[in-house]
């Protein structure tokens, strides 16, 4: 027998083991012994019969399976011949047919009912009534480490979504598909027109994020293996459990601080093989765009006060022939109207059909010298975007015999986006199998492999290199441009045509005046300057389970999650950017070796469920990026060897090991009272060796008070009820290589090595941090129709390992310290209501979460933690005494009466360091509905968020560059404000001159402002001074996210062609953004932000609609 007693001893006295290595060696040896025992045990599993044949099928048996309780037919009951893989499943009316040998034993099994076995004699008709199994009717939940627990016994709140509710509309994105379905979960989506995944935040922010949102994101666990969310085969997901609080996730250790998303995939079931086809074709279309103005063309005219010599009175620059600069043939162009071609703003002339020289009329060729009318192009941007096609298909084979199960899946997704040239092809295969080797030993494995090839991933964010064409349209564009014309960007001589050229007034050298100023044709950008990558992801586990005694099981797993990405990107020759090429490769691998012992025993009314185990985790990262510098030796020869200057090489590398031992004990008394305790100790390689061990416990209990009311009339109303409470600590380490102040190897000069002392001061003695949290709540069920769950929680995230900003005059800009306290408090509630449950059924689930994260303290003398700075001095700060995630920045200065104070030049005075709101939402939630009548079903989900703010570049630049509809209007004199102020236009800001303001030497303070400023000076300059009010937007929204109308095809017809069931549906994703101020004003969907607190050039929102066919053979 394996020496499991030593395990228990070790768990009981973990503190004695100062040396984790010594412990782990013993653990390994114990594991070895156990394995050898398992291997050498003389079980003759090889002699077992597997019957895959159909010999001697001499009895044709049929019948109906019903529930003994109410006589209703039971569809989907598994009926198999014991000892074989042969079997069938009852149909929608509970009927089945099967050919069996005489004297065979039939096993009827169905979830929620006791399994029943019957020996077949010679009968041809066998009706079976199954007895509801009270025990199994209770909801079973997959919890930490894959343990299935009855929900009743859990002392903490978990969220559960099953596959029907998760992927009914074939969402591509796991996080997005969870939106609104679980209380306390906030979606940080990604634009629907990219291939990116969204992220989620559970119970709000608890950390002082650095630069990315991922600091506050949960971990994703697929069949026990921690991995990335896009390794999941969506059609294979059986259920998702969301562990929210520290008590729920304590067994996962530090990485679970922000919660855990446990994904359980579908497994094969014993019985006849089934084949599932899940086919869908969907179309993605732009559903929302920035609200453009369509009256003014490109230019800079409205940046000036008067036409001067540059413009005519309508704001056109004109061609001025100079014999010293231009050829004689251009003399006839003298006086022709042009535009400021080099402007990437729309502060130009009004589009009234005036004849002018478009940009292409300056390129040599047939159009040279032509005049064209200046007319609006309202659909130009819309026409640029395509209809994306998303084909998403999968096939799964599953089944099993009495000692094995299997499920094999192939899934394929071929998707194009609305942005031209963007395409991803993804192939996934999955295999999940289990085998009972003998009565004691069983082995299992779940593996999925994903290969995806992406070309032309759209550029996102504020890109200075012009790679984000959407940013081009919304921020830096000329509104008269016709995108159709831009398709034709190649000149006769092979060179390329940009709309954003120089000024023919100053030179006639085409090399100079035809050179792009900031932008290429957007078609050039997507067709020539693309990136591509190939991604391989493997996630899987191999495990064994050995039944040592009736109540004692030993389990051991090896788990791997592996991602390999290789790709490249390029800037082609002849465009705005220098010709360049870069390649990137990255490998991420996580290995886990896990072993544990489980004990489950009932002593009369008492039950014990205990587990002890150990885990070794190893994370490796390896990344390499090389970029050519100074151009390519041969134009468009895309290889690193073509770099003219020394290529830039960046390598990222990390290695981390964490060793853990842990245990859990759950005690139960009847179905009334449950107590739960866990204890875990981690040793992390990334902590200083003197502080690398840390232990943390959790405790919890639940009291099913309704058990005491059994047989009382109260149960007529209160079907069930429990109260629950838990308390936990969770420890945390830091990323690798961050214990000591670093010495940075800087780029050498000539042959001289160069080094810089790192900019974060580290003492070398940082300690693990501990979060303490508790939660309490209740679950009740009323009239057997209404379920209500409520949880209150509070976390104190103390002594975090912070990389704190310090005054850089110390010589360091950061100081690594254990400090700070962030308190999170909140409530979560979910309500499930099933008003109808017959031919017409309706099930509705509502979820609601409200979180408040507050920064209680940072470090001595420090009250502000700066996360980052966006445009116009808007910063994200965590401030002591304030809500987590405050936006701080500039606002117009106002006097006591609230009037704006104006400077002598007519622009408002600006105050810095003003408080804005928090980025955290006030509350989030959702509503999920399933309705049906006979063969028809309708599912739809809403999600919403109230409050939370974000900084918007579309607002800053889209308005500042004159693209937005709000930049068109009349001033208080009734004159078009885009008219030159010298001609009566311009904008007068409503306000009074500030204290001490002098105009022509006269003190005008307190007088009404009388200065008119050019429109661009208002919308681009003055407005940014009020950034917090004007360009920081409300992230509230209500969205009808998914909807699917399904029809179950008639069985009578299908059975003739061997189909067990088929469902045809029409579906829509991202169906309707019902309410969102940011969408209304700026065309931005706040549930799809590219960054968690700002957008730099948000891609458009799309609506996906399509058809879905699910067939079961």
């Amino acid at each position: 027998m394996p020496n499991y007693y030593s395990f228990s001893l070790l768990i009981m006295y973990p503190m004695k083991w100062k040396l984790p290595d010594q412990f782990m060696k013993i653990l390994c040896c114990a594991l070895g012994l156990a394995l050898l025992t398992g291997l050498c045990a003389p079980h003759s599993f090889a002699a077992k019969n597997y019957d895959f044949t159909h010999a001697n099928a001499d009895v044709r048996l049929s019948g109906t399976v019903t529930s003994l309780e109410d006589g209703s037919a039971l569809p989907g009951v598994s009926i198999i011949v014991k000892g074989t893989s042969k079997g069938t499943i009852s149909d929608i009316n509970g009927k089945y047919e099967l050919s069996v040998e005489e004297n065979a034993t039939l096993v009827f099994s169905f979830i929620g009912f006791a399994t029943k076995e019957t020996v077949i004699k010679s009968q041809t008709q066998l009706d079976m009534a199954l007895v509801p199994d009270q025990q199994s009717l209770k909801e079973v939940v997959v919890t930490a480490m894959g343990y299935q627990r009855e929900k009743e016994s859990l002392p903490y709140s978990v969220g559960i979504v099953n596959s029907e509710n998760l992927t009914f509309a074939k969402s591509n994105d796991l996080s997005t598909s969870l939106a609104g379905k679980i209380s306390g979960v906030q979606l940080q989506g990604s634009p629907s027109s990219t291939f990116d995944n969204g992220n989620i935040v559970i119970r709000g922010g608890s950390k002082l994020g650095t630069s990315t949102s991922t600091d506050n994101n949960p971990i994703y666990v697929v069949d026990g293996t921690v991995t990335e969310q896009n390794s999941v085969i969506m059609d294979n997901v059986k259920s998702i459990t969301v562990l929210k609080g520290a008590a729920a996730s304590a067994l996962y250790g530090q990485r679970a601080q922000n919660g855990v998303i446990i994904i359980t995939t579908k497994k094969g079931t014993k019985g006849a093989p089934t084949v599932e086809l899940n086919l869908s074709a969907a179309f993605e279309k732009v559903s929302m765009l920035f609200p453009f103005q369509d009256q003014y063309g490109g230019g800079y005219a409205s940046t000036t006060d008067s036409p001067g010599t540059s413009y005519d009175s309508e704001g056109f620059p004109t061609f001025k022939y100079k014999s010293t600069v231009h050829p004689a043939s251009w003399a006839s162009f003298n006086g022709q109207r042009m535009l400021d071609y080099g402007a990437d703003e729309s502060w130009g002339p009004k589009m009234n059909g005036q004849l002018y020289r478009p940009y292409y009329s300056w390129f040599p060729g047939s159009e040279f010298g032509q005049l064209s009318p200046l007319t609006p192009q309202p659909n130009s941007v819309k026409n640029f975007y395509n209809t994306g096609v998303n084909l998403n298909n999968s096939i799964a084979f599953s089944g099993g015999g009495d000692n094995f199960t299997y499920r094999m899946t192939y899934a394929n997704q071929d998707r194009t986006l609305i942005v031209p040239e963007a395409r991803r092809n993804q192939h996934q295969i999955g295999l999940s199998s289990s085998l009972d080797v003998n009565k004691k030993l069983s082995v299992s494995s779940d593996i999925s492999f994903t290969y995806s090839k992406t070309k032309g991933q759209p550029g996102e964010g504020y890109a200075l290199n012009g790679s984000n064409v959407t940013q081009n349209f919304t921020q830096w564009w000329q509104r008269q441009l016709d995108t159709d014309r831009l398709k034709d960007y190649q000149n006769e001589d092979g060179s390329y045509m940009s709309w954003n050229i120089g000024d023919p007034n100053s030179t006639s050298d085409p090399k100079l005046y035809l050179k792009p100023q900031y932008w290429d044709s957007p078609y050039y950008t997507v067709q020539k300057n693309y990136s591509q990558n190939n991604t391989n992801r493997l996630v899987g586990n191999v495990g064994l389970k050995y039944k040592l005694l009736e109540d004692l099981t030993w389990q051991s797993y090896a788990r791997m999650s592996y991602t390999n990405i290789e790709g490249d990107s390029r800037f082609a020759f002849g465009g705005f950017n220098a010709n360049s090429y870069s390649i990137n490769q990255s490998i991420r691998r996580e290995m886990n070796y896990e072993t544990n012992l489980n004990y489950h025993h009932a002593f009369g009314d008492y039950s014990v469920d205990a587990m002890v185990g150990g885990n070794i985790r190893q994370n490796n990262w390896n990344e390499l990026k090389e970029t050519t510098q100074g151009g390519l030796t041969f134009p468009d020869f895309f290889d690193i060897s073509a770099s003219i200057s020394r290529p830039n090489v960046v390598r990222d590398y990390a290695l981390q090991k964490v060793r853990s031992i842990y245990g859990r004990v759950s005690l139960g008394y009847k179905s009334l009272l449950f107590l739960d305790g866990t204890l875990r100790n981690d040793w992390s390689s990334s902590l200083p060796s003197q502080n690398n061990s840390y232990m943390y416990p959790s405790l919890g209990g639940s009291f099913v008070f309704s058990e005491l009311l059994k047989n009382s009339p109260v149960t007529q109303v209160l079907s069930s009820g429990k109260i629950k409470a838990s308390w936990a600590k969770v420890g945390s380490d830091l990323p690798p290589f961050q214990v000591n102040t670093s010495l940075i190897n800087q780029p050498l000069y000539g042959s001289n090595a160069s080094a810089e002392i790192g900019n974060e001061y580290r003492t070398g003695n940082v300690k693990p941090s501990l979060t303490t949290s508790w939660e309490a709540g209740f679950d009740v069920r009323l009239f057997n129709k209404i379920g209500l769950e409520f949880t209150y929680y509070q976390d104190d995230n103390k002594d975090q390992i912070l990389s704190l900003d310090v005054d850089p005059t110390t010589g360091f800009s950061k100081y690594q310290i254990n400090a700070g306290k962030i308190q999170r408090k909140g409530v979560e509630a979910s309500l499930n209501f099933t008003p109808f449950k017959s031919d017409f059924y309706w099930d509705v689930t509502m979820s609601f979460g409200r979180n408040r994260s507050k920064v209680v303290e940072l470090a001595d003398g420090l009250n502000t933690y700066l996360v980052g700075t966006e445009r116009a001095n808007t910063r994200l700060e965590h401030r002591v005494g304030s809500e987590w995630g405050m936006l701080v920045g500039q606002k117009w200065r106002r006097n006591a009466e609230g009037r704006v104070l104006i400077d002598s030049n007519g622009s408002p005075l600006v105050d810095q360091n003003q408080d804005g709101g928090s980025i955290a939402p006030k509350f989030t939630g959702g509503l999920f509905n399933t309705l049906g009548y006979k063969s028809f079903s309708l599912s739809f989900s809403f999600d919403f968020q109230k409050g939370g703010q974000f900084a918007s570049r579309a607002a800053v630049h889209g308005v500042g560059a004159g693209q937005h509809a709000m930049t068109v209007g009349v001033n208080d004199k009734g004159i078009d404000w885009r008219t030159f102020p010298s001609l009566g236009g311009g904008i007068r800001v409503d306000g009074v001159y500030g204290p001490g303001i002098l105009i022509n030497g006269e003190d005008v303070s307190g007088r009404e402002n009388s200065t008119y400023i050019a429109a661009s000076r208002y919308f681009n300059g003055a407005r940014q001074g009020d950034n917090l009010n004007q360009n920081v937007l409300d992230a509230s929204y209500i969205k009808l996210r998914e909807i699917r109308l399904g029809y179950e095809l008639p069985k009578t017809f299908l059975s003739k062609v061997g189909i067990k069931g088929a469902n045809l549906g029409i579906m829509m994703n991202n169906a309707w953004l019902i309410y969102a101020p940011a969408a209304k004003e700026f065309g931005i969907d706040p549930s799809e932000l590219e960054q968690y607190w700002y957008e730099g050039g948000q891609l458009p929102q799309t609506r996906t609609s399509g058809v879905n066919l699910r067939i079961r053979f």
Binding site: K25, C28, L31, L35, L39, Y300, T304, Y341, G342, E345, V443, D503, S506, L512, Y513, L544, Y557, A558, M591, Y593, G630, S645, N648, Y653, Q656, K657, S685, S686, P736, S742, L743, I744, N745, Q746, P747, Y749, G750, A753, S754, A755, I757, Y761, T763, D805, V806, D807, P808, T809, T810, G811, F812, S813, G861, L862, N863, T864, L866, N873, V910, N913
Partner: protein, 482 residues
């Protein structure tokens, strides 16, 4: 059988992970030890940006280009901002955490006698300490002239002083004079020279001159505040030894090495930014007088220089229309002047004009212009003679100071640091502020402290604002008296 193999594999994998943590947490991408010479090299790589003002779009934190707008060397095209004197709270993080802390470490390692400062490989202790102290003074000089009072005596102490106090500019100047005097005296040319010296290649005598030149320039800053001290320090520095005829201290950028490129090259070639052009202020001054240096400073179109009008608020596009920097200035491997002989002659001319020294101001001035033409490679005796004869250029006693400072400004193109300081203390060249500015105060006189200062060092920040005046761009610092 398969299962047995699987189990066996799992078992072996598990066993193989039983090693200890010893080397797990060692980052192979970081050097474990940095000898002081490597710290010096890094500290020197940032030297040119002070006197060769450039945008550093990717090497963030060392952007000094804004000074080119204050002294009207450059104009802005499509995005007027800095040239309209937009409010500037300038970040100083990189200077303190980069070169300054590196230099402090060199001093600490030498003081502690660390093996990392080994004299054989890094230079003698005296020479290392001298160079580190001189360079530290150089950077602090730059910082105090930008902001006025700065953290100095309690700065660069890591976690020992998390919130350094601000020293008055007066005390900073006093200590810098002392540091430079002591440090240059510490230099021992007979001992091992410093290594890693990419600026002066271990020429310890040049380091003495480097230190004395800083002192010389610093002393003139005090003209209005403390003329007596200015005179004393000036003569002491001159006596201690400054640049000889034709001697220049320059930094060479490296063409072909993106990490050591001239930032202007990076801006034009790599980043494709054409946001600035040569300003009409310097352009017209030089074109009016047929000054050949303008064709070195500015891009030409068929021999024509087209300066961009200075300080307009309207957006204009530059390429092809207006002259960007000249080929010599934008080359990847350009040579950035730190201190030049011509500049020294103008400095001496000013001292002579003020009577600090007994030499002839006019002769020094004329020698300065000649040295400048030679420096920029446009010297021709006849042309120069014609140029010097023009009344705009010719030296007269009445306009001596203006002529000297204006020609100094014309010589030290892209050195806004020196030009801006000269303008503050003499009012020359007599710049007209940008017509499109929104700032009533005109050309800024100082930098606001970094915007995070108050958040990170509240008590000391409030104290310095109370002492020095409002933290804006117009409060006059200690030496900048009316």
């Amino acid at each position: 059988m398969k299962n047995k193999i699987l189990i066996l594999i799992a078992f072996i994998c598990t066993l193989s992970s039983c090693g200890d943590f010893e080397t797990t947490n060692v980052d192979p991408r970081q050097v474990k030890e940095a000898p002081t010479r490597t710290l010096l090299t890094f500290a020197l790589q940032q030297v040119p940006f002070i006197t060769f003002n450039s945008p550093t779009r990717q090497l963030t934190g060392y952007d000094t280009n804004f000074m080119n707008f204050y002294v009207q060397y450059l104009s802005e095209g499509p995005y007027p901002g800095a040239s309209l004197y937009s409010t500037r709270n300038l970040n100083w993080t990189s200077w303190y955490t980069g070169p300054l802390y590196n230099l402090q470490t060199i001093i600490d390692e030498n003081t502690a006698g660390s093996t990392l400062a080994d004299p054989g490989a890094n230079g003698s202790k005296n020479n290392q300490l001298a160079v580190a102290r001189i360079l530290k003074a150089y950077y602090y000089w730059y910082l105090t002239d930008l902001y006025g009072d700065i953290p100095y005596s309690t700065a660069l102490k890591g976690n020992q002083v998390l919130q350094p106090t601000f020293d008055t500019q007066e005390s900073v100047y006093t200590d810098l004079f002392k540091e430079l005097t002591e440090a240059q005296a510490l230099i021992n040319v007979s001992e091992t020279a410093v290594t890693g010296d990419i600026l002066l290649n271990g020429n310890m005598l040049s380091w003495k001159k480097f230190a004395n030149t800083i002192r010389l320039y610093m002393s003139l800053r005090l003209i209005k505040k403390d003329a007596a001290k200015a005179k004393t320090e000036f003569n002491a520095a001159l006596t201690a030894g400054v640049l000889g005829e034709g001697e220049n201290i320059q930094f060479s950028f490296v063409s072909g090495d993106p990490n050591n490129w001239n930032p202007w090259y990076k801006t034009y070639i790599n980043d494709n930014r054409n946001d600035v052009a040569v300003s009409s202020t310097i352009g017209n001054y030089m074109l009016t007088n047929n000054d050949p240096r303008i064709k070195v400073y500015a891009e030409t179109f068929n021999g024509e220089v087209r300066p961009l009008p200075y300080g307009g608020s309207s957006a204009v596009n530059i390429p092809g229309a207006y002259s960007r920097l000249g080929a010599r200035m934008q080359a990847g491997g350009a040579i950035a002047p730190i201190f030049t002989y011509a500049q020294l002659l103008f400095v001496k001319a000013e001292a002579a004009q003020r009577g600090f020294i007994t030499e002839d101001a006019k002769a020094l001035y004329e020698a300065g212009v000649k040295a400048s033409w030679q420096y920029w490679g446009v010297y021709d005796a006849t042309t120069l003679a014609g140029y010097m004869a023009d009344t705009d250029i010719a030296y007269t006693a009445a306009t001596g100071l203006e002529k000297i400072i204006t020609q100094k400004w014309a010589h030290q193109y892209l050195n806004g640091f020196e030009g801006w300081s000269d303008w503050k203390r003499t009012g020359f060249p007599a710049f007209t502020p940008a017509p499109g500015t929104t700032q009533g105060g005109g050309i800024p006189r100082r930098m606001g402290y970094p915007s995070s200062t108050r958040a990170l060092n509240e008590a000391n920040y409030d104290a310095v604002v109370a002492r020095q005046g409002a933290d804006d761009n117009y409060t006059r610092m200690w030496w900048d008296v009316k």
